[in-house]
């Protein structure tokens, strides 16, 4: 079938999922106390903050290099999306600062609330993994299934449910850009996802996204409502977190103007 018809089919499948997402979000995130708002902001910050560092490097691999500039449109969309997502991470961090939950964004990197809950971590790992496929599969699984057909409903539900103006504004401020990411999914699927093989893989990616997103939404809601009682993945014992054995020597950049030290 044509890419256009494939998108319409996916849209039909996603309609009840979108409705459920809206209703679930609206019911879950109304009447949040301050601590619950902080937990919600931290978890959402977590999925946006590593976008440039992690998702981006994997997603670029999904777009083949073409000397004739065949995929220039997709490259431009992805570049803009990376910028948007990292700005959205800043929105969540700034909301935490405005609310007085933290003083600086750096605090979030080690804050227990910003450790991803299990479903959320699974979903993020899936997003990164999608970069190993052709970009039609990536765009069907992320931009179409999540950002076009599901995530706008989450945003709508959150805007309708959350009364706090600072927290609500975070969702309102990114509505247009998330809509743009969704449109890139629609565009890529319609234009490039034309063969049976591509559509089979794209459908599988979309179904997997919906399944993982559903689990993530349940875990996220439970964490936001119940807080510390929710089991979280343990802190990774990465060398980056360990303090240096001895103080690092002062290194100055060698520039023409800088005096020798």
């Amino acid at each position: 079938m044509r890419g256009k018809d494939f998108f319409r089919e996916m849209e039909t499948i996603a309609a009840p999922i979108g409705k459920e997402t809206y209703e679930g979000t609206r019911a879950t995130y109304s009447n949040l106390n301050e601590d619950q708002k902080f937990r919600l902001l931290c978890q959402l910050w977590w999925i946006e903050a590593p976008t440039i560092a992690n998702f981006s490097r994997s997603w670029w691999n999904a777009i083949p290099r073409d000397p004739s500039g065949k995929y220039r449109d997709v490259e431009m969309f992805l570049a803009r999306q990376m910028y948007d997502e990292s700005r959205h991470g800043k929105l969540y961090a700034d909301a935490c600062i405005r609310k007085g939950f933290v003083q600086r964004e750096e605090e979030l990197w080690t804050h227990p609330y910003a450790r991803p809950v299990q479903g959320w971590l699974n979903f993020a790992a899936w997003l990164e993994h999608l970069g190993n496929y052709h970009f039609t599969t990536l765009y069907a699984g992320e931009q179409m299934a999540s950002e076009c057909l599901t995530f706008p409903k989450f945003l709508e539900g959150a805007i309708a449910a959350i009364e706090d103006p600072i927290v609500r504004w975070v969702f309102e401020a990114q509505e247009d850009e998330e809509s743009f990411h969704g449109m890139t999914g629609r565009y890529v699927v319609t234009k490039y996802c034309q063969t049976q093989l591509q559509q089979d893989e794209a459908a599988w990616a979309a179904q997997t996204t919906w399944k993982l997103l559903g689990q993530a939404a349940v875990d996220l809601a439970q964490f936001v409502k119940e807080g510390e009682s929710m089991e979280r993945p343990p802190l990774e014992q990465h060398p980056a977190f360990a303090p240096p054995a001895k103080p690092l020597p002062k290194m100055f950049p060698k520039t023409l103007d800088h005096p020798e030290v």
Binding site: D73, M76, F77, R80, D176, E177, S179, F180, G182, M183, T184, R186, Y187
Partner: protein, 85 residues
């Protein structure tokens, strides 16, 4: 010689635009271009815009993520006077 202006239906970009570039990629007539200004926002060249069936049917408007960023407008198309024998 009387020259009557012809009003042409076109689409135009409003300040609600977020500069995502979807309209530029979807326009079949390459009527959407970067404007000559520092923020290089997009603009629709009225002489190239072919309306594409009007609001709600043009690809640029269908794919535009912001409601109200692309709207219908009237443009006075300059007419070349006919050369009379």
């Amino acid at each position: 010689m009387e020259i009557t202006a012809v009003m042409k239906d076109v689409l135009t970009i409003t300040p609600l635009c977020i500069d995502c570039g979807m309209c530029r990629e979807t326009c079949p007539f390459q009527a959407v271009v970067c404007a000559f200004e520092k923020r290089h926002r997009y603009e629709i060249l009225p002489h190239s815009c072919e309306w594409c069936g009007g609001p709600g049917k043009a690809p640029c408007e269908i794919y535009c993520p912001v409601r109200g960023a692309i709207v219908a407008a009237k443009w006075e198309e300059p007419q070349t006077p006919a050369v009379v024998g």
